[in-house]
Structure formats: structure tokens, C-alpha cells
């Protein structure tokens, strides 16, 4: 196929943002909302078509596009495999929902907000499509600009502090990755990922390079102890910003581990496994405990994100098939569930303008539809069987038990803690006595909100019962990843003898 379908996918959102830029200011800015919806839904359909037309039995990268970019140096190379396509579809699915959520919640400068969201979508799809380290870095870092503005311009009272913290933390992590990328270029003579897989990086360099990549991904994941930017960013960001941040931006790091750390530095990945395990377990248990103590709903969900991403890193570095598939599943599932939970918080925040748990209670009597949906997502987040949350955690724990009993048992304790804070949150917000008189006059969810939340709930339950489409997409690529990894470990141990 000669049609550059991936470039089209990447640049479609940014082109539609150009139209928004040129559109005239109107009352309520309907034109810009329509344009952005149209653009993002077109992107969604295109990505679904991409998924549909992929050859799932091949572990090779597909739809490869290659153009000369910087002379004799870097090629503009794009391609997808079974792992990246899922993240692309997740991105294109979440973006229209974010745009719909803006209609109610963003009152000020909505045109600029939509432009920022669409530009961000372009960069995120670029991250998942790129097959060249420099292109990857370019998109990875570029996402900071729109996100910084989304938090800073449309955020809450402490937005300046949060935006700065978000930007500087991530930038500091990433610049080391840039050094590593350039060093890889001088070692191997290329930044093309597929060629680097073939060439194999010398063992002596692997540990340092792995750490440089890790510094960037650990901040972005976020792993304990560099997770502190996330609660701040989430609390201050507007609803749509939180949704994108939790659902998609955090996944870029998990994807980075799978795409770069493990295949490029197999030896170092093996070497640093205990480090990652320890950090993940601390993240799971410590942040779950912290989440218990929160009095701000958004902050609680933010900490639960850190815990969930702890499972993801744990699963990835079990380096078993179940573990890695579980991690990817967990990332998709967390993408849907955390997006939904932040939207749920957004719904009541738009009405009562408070995120404090103590202001709520007894919502079930006055907002029954909302309470039902909230309950679905809360149960999914704690990993109730029949939702996507269960499958991800189950697979990860299966993988973990194959590697190390101690860590696996500790991670299972985290599941219990997860149930504790989610159920307690539900109890305090949805059930219980009505403390705040204002709640009695609240209106239940309107049609748009129901549409957003049910579409998310549908997929959470659907993929919870019927995971085959996702697992089938992943299967061959993950097999290939693990085979290559084991092969290079064997090669190295033979070379050592």
C-alpha cells in the first residue's frame, strides 16, 4: 500500500486544529467544537480501519513509511505493530470523549483549548507510530508544550506551580534520554529502531544507556519516587486535561519500556529487574496507602493511577508472556477506567465546584444514573472480575508469581488496598448521609455526559468479558518481543563463556 496512512493519521488532528484556528469566533464557539469533533472522529475511524487491515499473524512492523529527513543521518520512519496499534486506537478513542467533555466544563477560550487538545493528539499518535529514536523523542517531548498550556491556562488555583513541576520534571528526565539516543547513534550508526534491534548494542554500554532511558520513562510513568508531579498536575488540570494525562500520556512510558528498554538493552533489563520490581512494589503499596488518606477526589484517583502504573512496570519486567500481555491490557484498561473516573469527578465538579470528598455523600438518592456509572468504574478500578481491570491485574500477578513469590505476594496485598480506597471513596461520595444541602438541588447527568460515560463503561465491561480481540492483536508481537529478548540473553551468556 502506497498511501501514507500513518502520516495521515498523525497529521489529521493538527490539520483540523488549523481549521479551528482559521474559523471565526462565534457565540458558544460551535463551529470550533464541530470541526474538532469531526477531525477527531475521522482520526478514530482511520485508526480503526488501520487496526482492521493489519495482518495480525505477522510480528513485523506494518504500514512502514520511510522518508529521508536529515541528510545521511535520520530517516522519518513510521510503522505499527500489534502493540502500538492498541495505544493508537486508545488515543483516538479518548480524544473525542475529551472534546465532548469540554462542551460543559470549559467556558473560557474554548477555541484555544480544542487546538491544544488536537495538537497533543498529533504528538501522541506520533510517539506510538515512530520507528526512529529521534522522531520518537521529538514527539515525546513536543507533547509537553500543549500539556503545559492546558494545565497552566485552564487549570485550578495552584496551576502555575503544577504546570512548572510537570514541565521541568519531565524535561529533566528526557534530556538524559536525548544523550542516550545520540550515543546510540554514534555506537551503531543509525537511529532506526529496527536496525538497532538487529545490530545489538555492546554490553558495556547497555547499563548506562538503559538508565538514561529509564530516567525519562520513570518520570513519565510515573514511578516512585519521581511520581510527585502527577497528583499536582492532575488536581490542577481541567477535566479533559486530566483525562488525557491519565489515559494516554502515562502510557507513553510503558510503551517506551516495551519498545526500547527491553528489546534494545536486554542484558541491562535483566540486570535492573530487581530495581524495577522494588520501585513498583513501593509504588503499589505506598501510593495505595497515600490514596486512602486523600480528601480530594482527583488526588485520590491520581494516586491510584500511580499504583496502577506500578502494576504495569511490574508486569513488563517479569519478562514473561503473561506479565507483558497483562501490562498492556492493564494500560488499556487503566486508560479507559481512569479517564472515566476523572470524567465522573468532572461531572460533579461542574455542578458543585468542589472536589473535596467531605462535601459529597448520598449522591445515590439524587443522582441515580450518575451513581450507577460511578459504581461501575469504581468496581472496575479495584479489579472486579468481568471488567478489564481484573484481567490486567490477574495476568500481571500470574507473570509475577513465575518470577518471584515475595514480590507477587506483596503486589497482591496492593490489590486489597486498591479495593479499600476505591470502596471507601464510593461509600463516602455515593452512599452515606447527605451532609451538603446543595446536593439536593443537583441535576442528574445530562445526555452528553451519559453518552461519554456509557461508551467507556461499555468497553470496560465488553473487554472484561471478551478480551480476545485485544489479546489476539498483541499475541504475535509480544511473542516476538520475548523470543528476541531470550535469544539475546542466551547469545550474551554464550559469548561470556
Amino acid at each position: 500500500m502506497n498511501f501514507p496512512i500513518l502520516s495521515t493519521l498523525i497529521f489529521l488532528p493538527i490539520i483540523s486544529s488549523l481549521f479551528i484556528f482559521l474559523s471565526k469566533d462565534q457565540k458558544n464557539n460551535f463551529s470550533s467544537i464541530y470541526i474538532s469533533l469531526f477531525g477527531s472522529i475521522a482520526t478514530l475511524l482511520l485508526s480503526l480501519f488501520l487496526w482492521y487491515s493489519m495482518d495480525l499473524s505477522s510480528s513485523e512492523f506494518q504500514f512502514i513509511e520511510e522518508k529521508s529527513w536529515i541528510n545521511n543521518f535520520i530517516k522519518f520512519k513510521l510503522g505499527v505493530d500489534g502493540i502500538s496499534i492498541l495505544f493508537i486506537v486508545l488515543t483516538t478513542f479518548i480524544t473525542p470523549i475529551c472534546i465532548i467533555s469540554c462542551i460543559n466544563s470549559v467556558k473560557d477560550r474554548i477555541k484555544e483549548f480544542l487546538i491544544a487538545i488536537l495538537v497533543l493528539e498529533t504528538f501522541i499518535i506520533g510517539v506510538f507510530c515512530s520507528l526512529d529514536l529521534v522522531i520518537f523523542y521529538l514527539f515525546f517531548e513536543a507533547g509537553l508544550i500543549p500539556m503545559f498550556l492546558i494545565i497552566g491556562v485552564w487549570g485550578g488555583p495552584k496551576r502555575v506551580y503544577s504546570a512548572f513541576k510537570f514541565f521541568l520534571f519531565t524535561l529533566l528526565g528526557s534530556v538524559l534520554m536525548l544523550v542516550a539516543i545520540i550515543v546510540i547513534y554514534w555506537l551503531t550508526g543509525t537511529t532506526d529502531i529496527t536496525s538497532i534491534y538487529e545490530i545489538k548494542i555492546p554490553k558495556d554500554y547497555q547499563n548506562l544507556l538503559w538508565l538514561a532511558f529509564f530516567s525519562s520513562f520513570a518520570v513519565k510513568t510515573p514511578m516512585w519516587p519521581v511520581h510527585t508531579w502527577l497528583p499536582d498536575a492532575h488536581v490542577e488540570a481541567p477535566t479533559a486535561g486530566s483525562v488525557i494525562l491519565a489515559a494516554i500520556l502515562l502510557k507513553m512510558a510503558g510503551y517506551g519500556f516495551l519498545r526500547f528498554s527491553i528489546p534494545m538493552f536486554p542484558f541491562a533489563s535483566e540486570f535492573f529487574t530487581p530495581l524495577v520490581f522494588t520501585l513498583s512494589i513501593i509504588a503499589i503499596i505506598y501510593t495505595s496507602l497515600v490514596a486512602l488518606m486523600q480528601d480530594d477526589m482527583k488526588k485520590l484517583i491520581a494516586y491510584s493511577s500511580v499504583a496502577h502504573m506500578g502494576y504495569v512496570t511490574l508486569g513488563i519486567f517479569t519478562l514473561t508472556k503473561q506479565g507483558i500481555e497483562g501490562s498492556i491490557y492493564q494500560m488499556i484498561s487503566h486508560g479507559l477506567i481512569s479517564a472515566a473516573l476523572f470524567l465522573c469527578v468532572g461531572v460533579v465538579y461542574d455542578r458543585l465546584h468542589s472536589r473535596l470528598i467531605s462535601k459529597y455523600g448520598g449522591l445515590v438518592t439524587y443522582l441515580p444514573k450518575y451513581s450507577f456509572l460511578f459504581l461501575v468504574f469504581a468496581l472496575a478500578a479495584l479489579g472486579l472480575p468481568g471488567t478489564t481491570g481484573f484481567l490486567g491485574e490477574f495476568l500481571i500477578l500470574t507473570g509475577a508469581f513465575q518470577k518471584n513469590y515475595l514480590f507477587a505476594i506483596l503486589a497482591t496485598v496492593g490489590v486489597v488496598l486498591g479495593a479499600a480506597y476505591m470502596l471507601w471513596l464510593t461509600k463516602r461520595v455515593i452512599f452515606g448521609k447527605v451532609i451538603n444541602e446543595d446536593i439536593k438541588s443537583l441535576k442528574d447527568t445530562n445526555r452528553l455526559e451519559i453518552f461519554m460515560l456509557t461508551s467507556l463503561a461499555f468497553f470496560v465491561v465488553f473487554f472484561g468479558f471478551y478480551p480476545t480481540p485485544l489479546i489476539e492483536t498483541l499475541n504475535v508481537s509480544v511473542d516476538n518481543l520475548i523470543n528476541n529478548y531470550e535469544q539475546s540473553i542466551i547469545n550474551i551468556s554464550i559469548a561470556n563463556k
Binding site: 529521508s68 529527513w69 536529515i70 541528510n71 543521518f73 484555544e112 529521534v134 523523542y137 521529538l138 514527539f139 517531548e141 513536543a142 509537553l144 508544550i145 503545559f148 498550556l149 497552566g152 491556562v153 496551576r159 502555575v160 504546570a163 512548572f164 514541565f167 521541568l168 524535561l171 529533566l172 534530556v175 538524559l176 536525548l178 544523550v179 545520540i182 550515543v183 547513534y185 554514534w186
Partner: protein, 471 residues
């Protein structure tokens, strides 16, 4: 000899036209606009002359004057940046009543000095060119002669610059004493590591050049002069002399000092690291946007010097790419300052920037792009500039330089973000006058669109720069 004079046609043309417009300026009343427009025309014609000149390198006047791709590239860069700097500041010049006809003429004279500097293949011609441009710059810094701050900055610049020129001249004379020649190529043949005295000469020359590009520890004049001089002059200072100074540094590494590169390199590495750190740290506390840009330019010179410090051709090429992108960014940034006008007065405080995002969304957005690009965030051009520098530095395995460079990138991102914060996050307290200075606005937009679209075809600049060193 006379037949070869076409080799220096741009210089000859520039000299004659300076005489011409000087006469017009003297004998025609209120001639500022006329002289100004003629200057623009002269610059355009000179660009055309240079672009039409043949590509091969040629030398005349006992091999003291050379015309090659290297000097031509920098001459064109200087002319184009002067064109934008001058035209975008025209309204500003009128508003501040510094519309004297000497203004554009002195700028042309300093350009002529830079031309001789760039084309010099001989210590004497080099020094003459350098002094010619410096003298013109002293006058420019104090052109607003009724304003004490402008006069003070001019005087400060003169005293410090004269000292550095003295050191430079001393270095030149030492070099002549040790090698017995003033010709660059012959000096290169004579110099070698055993020649300890020549190291002294080299240090003195380096100090002189480091002063001209305002690298740490010879940067003291920069913030004061930037703040004191009228903005139109500051933007000229921030861009044009630095291009010439860096070009000269590269030239010295390339020809006369190529055999004692190691000693020369270790000094430049120190200067580069010091500039990057000071530029990043000192800018954080600044409240005046011109002072902030002064420190930011010190930091940027540090990065550019990191490319020079590699001592190899790819490094020099990355420096040239860097300085070109730096020019685009800085012209854009300074043109934004011409638009910050309130009740006929130009505002310079960072806090005054609050609220332009609501009143002038396009200006605010352009400023945002320029600042992110200065911070080196992809996919803007500023990222590519840094990327090439670090690629070259890491190729030479100079890891310390690269790590310091990247950490200072993060620190300096902080103060650029602070400005962006003021533009976008703070509530507006000031409403600026409607924008009348169309040329400055167009300059901002041009610079901004270059920065955004650079990533579509980043090898464009490399292709040009690659041809510069082919003999």
C-alpha cells in the same frame, strides 16, 4: 591588481554607498527616512552582489583578503539580519526620537567592518576590521545621547571593549613576534606545540574574541548595555556582532591555530560551560525582559561555543546552524518588544507582558513559539540547533560538556516558562496600544513560521552549511 578588485566588490560597493548617503544626509534636511530607505536598498543590492559572486575561493592584496563560501555565508546572514533588525525598529526609532540620519549609516559602517573581519586572512586586516565595527558599535550604544542610561552603556561598552581590543592587539603582536608573519596560513605553518609563547598570544586573542561574543567571564558589559541602549540597538547588538565574532572564532581554529588546537580547545570548553551555567542561572531573577534576553544570549553563546570546542568540522557546522537559528529566534523576540507599547511608551518589564494573550492573541502565540524555541523544546527549530550541537559534542565523547549543556537546558527552560507564564497564566493588568508597527509584526510572524516549519525539512540549513568548508 585592479582587475582583481571585483573580488571585493561587496565591500567596495558598501564603502562608496556609505560615502554617498553620508553626503545626502548632510545636505538634505530631515533626511532620516530617505537615508533609511536608501540603506535598505543598499543592503538588498549588497546581498544580490554576494549571491552572484563565483563560488571559488580567491585571495588578493598579498593574500590578506579572501573571498570564499565561508565568508560569503556569514556576510549574507549579517545583511539579512540587519535588514530585519533595522526595518522592524523603524517605528521605534521615530517614537524615541533617535531618528538621526547617522543611525543607519553607522550601522552600515559597522557591517563594513565585519565584512573585512570575515574576509581577513591576515592579522592586520582582521584587527582593522574588528576596530572599525567596534568603533561604530560604541557610537550606536550611546546614540540616544540625552538619555543618561544610553550614554552610560555606551561608555561602559567603550572602556571594556577598548581593554579587550588592547589585549587582542597585544596577542597579535606576540604572534607576529613568534612567527615573523601576519598571514594566517603562514602562522599555521610556524606554530606548533613547542612554541610556548604562541600559547600566550592565543589566549590574548581568544579573550578579545570572547569579549565580542560576550562569553563568560568576559560578559559583564552585556546586561548593562542591553538594558541601557535603545531596544533597536540592543537587537542589533544581540544578533549581528555575535555572528561575526563566532565566525572569527571558527576561522581562527580552522586556519592559524589548527596545530595547537588542543590548548585552544580546553579554554573554549571552560568558557562554554561557564557561559551555559551563568546564562541559565543568572537569568532566573531578572525582571527586565532585555536583561533576561541578555543572559539568555550568553547561555546561547555557550551552546554555540560547545560546537566550536569539538575542534572538528561537524562541530563547526553545528555551531553555524546554531547561530543561524539563534538569529531567527532573537530577531523575532526583539520584534515582539517593539509591540509592547502603552500610551506611547515602550514597556520592558516582564510583568507588563501579562494580558497580551487576550488582547493580541497572535502576538502572544508567536512569542510563545519563540520562547519555547529558545528553550529548545521540539519540534521547534531551537531543538534542532541544540540537537546538532550535542550530536557533534557526543561524537567527540565530550560527555561532561554534553551533560552540563543538557542540565542547563532544563534550568533555562525555567525562566522561559516564567515569561510564558506571565503571558498566558497571569491576569491582565495592562492593555497595550493597538499595534501600528506592521513591519515588526510581520517580522515576528516570519520568524515564528520559520521556527515552526523547520522540522519539515531540517536538512535545508545543513545542505548550505556543508558547502562552506569545501575548498
Amino acid at each position: 591588481m585592479i582587475l582583481n578588485l571585483n573580488i571585493m566588490l561587496p565591500e567596495v560597493f558598501l564603502t562608496l554607498s556609505i560615502f554617498g548617503i553620508l553626503m545626502i544626509g548632510v545636505f538634505v534636511r530631515n533626511s532620516f527616512s530617505l537615508v533609511f530607505n536608501l540603506t535598505t536598498a543598499i543592503i538588498l543590492i549588497t546581498i544580490a552582489i554576494i549571491l552572484n559572486s563565483p563560488n571559488n575561493a580567491e585571495k588578493i592584496f598579498l593574500e590578506s583578503f579572501i573571498r570564499d563560501n565561508f565568508s560569503n555565508f556569514f556576510k549574507v546572514l549579517i545583511l539579512i539580519s540587519t535588514l530585519f533588525v533595522l526595518n522592524s525598529s523603524k517605528a521605534f526609532i521615530f517614537d524615541n526620537k533617535i531618528n538621526k540620519f547617522e543611525y543607519p549609516i553607522i550601522i552600515l559602517i559597522s557591517i563594513l567592518g565585519m565584512f573585512f573581519m570575515l574576509s581577513s586572512n591576515d592579522l592586520i586586516l582582521f584587527y582593522l576590521g574588528l576596530e572599525m565595527q567596534s568603533l561604530a558599535l560604541y557610537i550606536l550604544a550611546s546614540i540616544d545621547r540625552d538619555n543618561t542610561r544610553s550614554t552610560e552603556s555606551g561608555l561602559k561598552y567603550f572602556v571594556l571593549s577598548a581593554l579587550s581590543s588592547g589585549l587582542l592587539l597585544y596577542g597579535c603582536s606576540l604572534l607576529y613576534g613568534f612567527t615573523g608573519t601576519t598571514n594566517f596560513e603562514q602562522i599555521a605553518d610556524q606554530l606548533n606545540k613547542e612554541n610556548t609563547g604562541s600559547i600566550f598570544a592565543m589566549v590574548f586573542i581568544l579573550v578579545g574574541l570572547a569579549f565580542k561574543v560576550s562569553a563568560v567571564p568576559f560578559h559583564m558589559w552585556t546586561p548593562d548595555v542591553y538594558e541601557g541602549a535603545p531596544t533597536s540597538i540592543t537587537s542589533f547588538f544581540a544578533v549581528v556582532p555575535k555572528v561575526a565574532g563566532l565566525a572569527l572564532l571558527i576561522k581562527f581554529m580552522l586556519i592559524p591555530f589548527k596545530n595547537i588546537l588542543f590548548e585552544w580547545q580546553s579554554i573554549i570548553i571552560f568558557i562554554s560551560i561557564a557561559s551555559m551555567i551563568l546564562g541559565a542561572v543568572a537569568a532566573i531573577v531578572q525582571k527586565n525582559i532585555k536583561r533576561l534576553l541578555a543572559y539568555s544570549s550568553i547561555g546561547h553563546i555557550g551552546y554555540a561555543l560547545a560546537g566550536v570546542a569539538t575542534g572538528v568540522l561537524p562541530g563547526y557546522e553545528s555551531t553555524i546552524v546554531y547561530i543561524t537559528i539563534y538569529v531567527v529566534m532573537n530577531i523575532g523576540a526583539f520584534s515582539c518588544l517593539y509591540l509592547m507599547k502603552k500610551d506611547g511608551e515602550y514597556r520592558e518589564n516582564i510583568s507588563d507582558l501579562s494580558g497580551i494573550s487576550k488582547k493580541h492573541p497572535i502576538l502572544a502565540f508567536s512569542f510563545l513559539i519563540i520562547l519555547f524555541s529558545l528553550a529548545g523544546i521540539p519540534p521547534l527549530a531551537g531543538f534542532f540547533a541544540k540537537f546538532y550541537i550535542f550530536a557533534a559534542v557526543l561524537e567527540q565523547e565530550m560527555y561532561v560538556l554534553a551533560i552540563v549543556g543538557l542540565l542547563t537546558t532544563v534550568i533555562s527552560a525555567f525562566y522561559y516558562l516564567k515569561v510564558i507564564k506571565t503571558i498566558y497564566f497571569d491576569d491582565s493588568s495592562i492593555i497595550f496600544d493597538p499595534i501600528k508597527n506592521k513591519i515588526a509584526q510581520i517580522t515576528v510572524l516570519i520568524s515564528c513560521s520559520i521556527l515552526i516549519s523547520f522540522f519539515l525539512y531540517p536538512s535545508f540549513l545543513n545542505n548550505i552549511v556543508n558547502t562552506l568548508f569545501v575548498q
